[in-house]
Amino acid sequence: MKATRKLTAGLALGLIALVVAVDLGSGAVPNPYRAPPLVALGSGLAAGGAHCAALPRN
């Protein structure tokens, strides 16, 4: 039986499931009651800064 893209697409989904499972398993459990407002614009909160273009300073 020839392997198809069904296998590799399934592995890709498995990869993200693994990332989320390991993350939750390591104790990084989110708390929905401390979630920020639905939309950043108009929230009064500062943008987070965790972005590819950000150059953080200690």
Binding site: K2, A3, T4, R5, K6, L7, T8, A9, L11, A12, L13, L15, I16, V19, V20, V22, D23, L24, S26, A28, V29, P30, P32, A35, P36, P37, L38, V39, A40, L41, G42, S43, G44, L45, A46, A47, G48, G49, A50, H51, C52, A53, A54, L55, P56, R57, N58
Partner: protein, 373 residues
């Protein structure tokens, strides 16, 4: 024909309804257990995945088409999408500089070199930042192999980032306000005109599909900015996944100024389900998989490639991640979001990555990535 159609109990209609139901269920679970904003960002990511795969809107492929066939359609669509975002994003960020952040980064030696290397590698694996996610989600084995190494490379590049930026970095240049928007739109029009002039006369047309794709991708990118407070990005989330994995395995990140910065320490301590780029990355992979399944496009046999092609995918995957950290983003974070939010580095990234792509297009067949048997 899919395997599903072989079963009389599962019709394509039922399968498609199940796909939509599953996507809605996952978003609802995130809303319930993580928060409404994070569910909305996952939904935006799913939208990106559906749009990019469903409307075949990409970056690496259109650049390749321009280089090899002088076909400008995909590249023009990219510029239109960026212009649409810029028209809203630059005034919004100028008016709300605290709540909304642009993809603003300085130009420097490492940034320039990183963009050039990224351009080579994105043509080797024929997938950029978003393209690698979309291709992996739709079952492309080369992208699936490259993806984990992309994440490791992004982590490593971020680990060393300050060493690289200390080699020489110019002050930040941002085009803001009405004047900044005008500069950006004139620049995009000039690049578009140059591409149109260089295009083969018989290829000088843009299919309706790409106009729709440009509008949809622009709308999603603006939604990303307004909901998250930051523009669409890819690379940060991948590096964060690898950094979390390294931490769990006992790696010491205290030697890295980047990963020890307060904002990144906070991201490392909190769930990936609360990280903006992680959520949209997950959504892009899942959305592309949804479209590929919807189209019954997962039945194709996997290509048989020589060993050197798989090694090239691993090396290029790592370099995609590493170089995009030095370049302050990939085609999404630096080019699309950088230019559309007024950052000079987005323009420099485009020039250098396109030059790298010219090299990469010629390198790809030599690495066995086009030898399919």
């Amino acid at each position: 024909m899919t395997d599903i159609t072989a079963s009389p109990a599962v019709t394509p209609g039922f399968q498609r309804a199940a796909l939509i139901g599953a996507a809605i269920a996952v978003v609802a679970l995130v809303a319930l257990f993580v928060g409404a904003r994070f569910a909305l960002l996952l939904a935006i990511g799913l939208g990106f995945g559906v749009a990019l795969e469903g409307l075949r809107f990409g970056f690496a492929g259109p650049w390749r088409a321009m280089i090899l066939r002088r076909d400008p359609a995909g590249l023009i669509a990219q510029l239109v999408a960026i212009a649409l975002v810029a028209c809203v994003a630059i005034p919004l960020i100028t008016a709300n500089p605290t709540e909304l952040a642009g993809a603003h980064a300085p130009v420097g030696f490492a940034m320039i070199g990183g963009a050039f290397v990224f351009g080579i590698c994105m043509q080797v694996v024929l997938g950029c930042g978003s393209g690698t996610l979309v291709n992996a989600g739709s079952g492309n084995p080369v992208s699936l192999v490259a993806l984990p190494f992309f994440a490791i490379g992004s982590f490593a590049g971020a680990f060393h980032l300050f060493w690289w930026t200390d080699l020489g970095t110019a002050p930040l240049v941002v085009f803001s306000g009405t004047g900044g928007l005008a500069v950006t739109l004139v620049g995009l029009a000039a690049v578009g005109a140059l591409i149109w002039w260089k295009a083969a006369p018989e290829n000088r047309r843009v299919p309706r599909r790409l106009w729709i794709a440009a509008a949809v991708v622009a709308a999603l990118a603006l939604a990303n900015l307004i909901v998250a407070g930051q523009p669409w990005g890819v690379v940060y989330g991948l590096g964060l996944w690898a950094a979390k994995g390294a931490s769990i395995l006992g790696a010491d990140l205290s030697g890295s100024g980047f990963w020890m910065a307060p904002v990144n320490q906070e991201r490392l301590a909190q769930s990936v389900l609360t990280d903006v780029t992680s959520l949209t990355n997950i959504g892009i992979i899942a959305g592309a998989c949804l479209v590929a399944t919807w189209r019954a496009g997962l039945g194709d046999a996997l290509p048989r490639l020589p060993l050197r092609a798989w090694i090239a995918a691993i090396v290029a995957g790592f370099l995609l991640g590493y170089s995009s950290r030095l370049a302050f983003g990939c085609n999404v974070g630096a080019f699309f979001s950088g230019v559309s939010t007024g950052s000079l580095h987005g323009w420099v990234w485009f020039a250098m990555a396109f030059a790298g792509s010219v090299v990469g297009v010629r390198l790809r067949p030599r690495l066995g990535l086009e030898q399919r048997r």
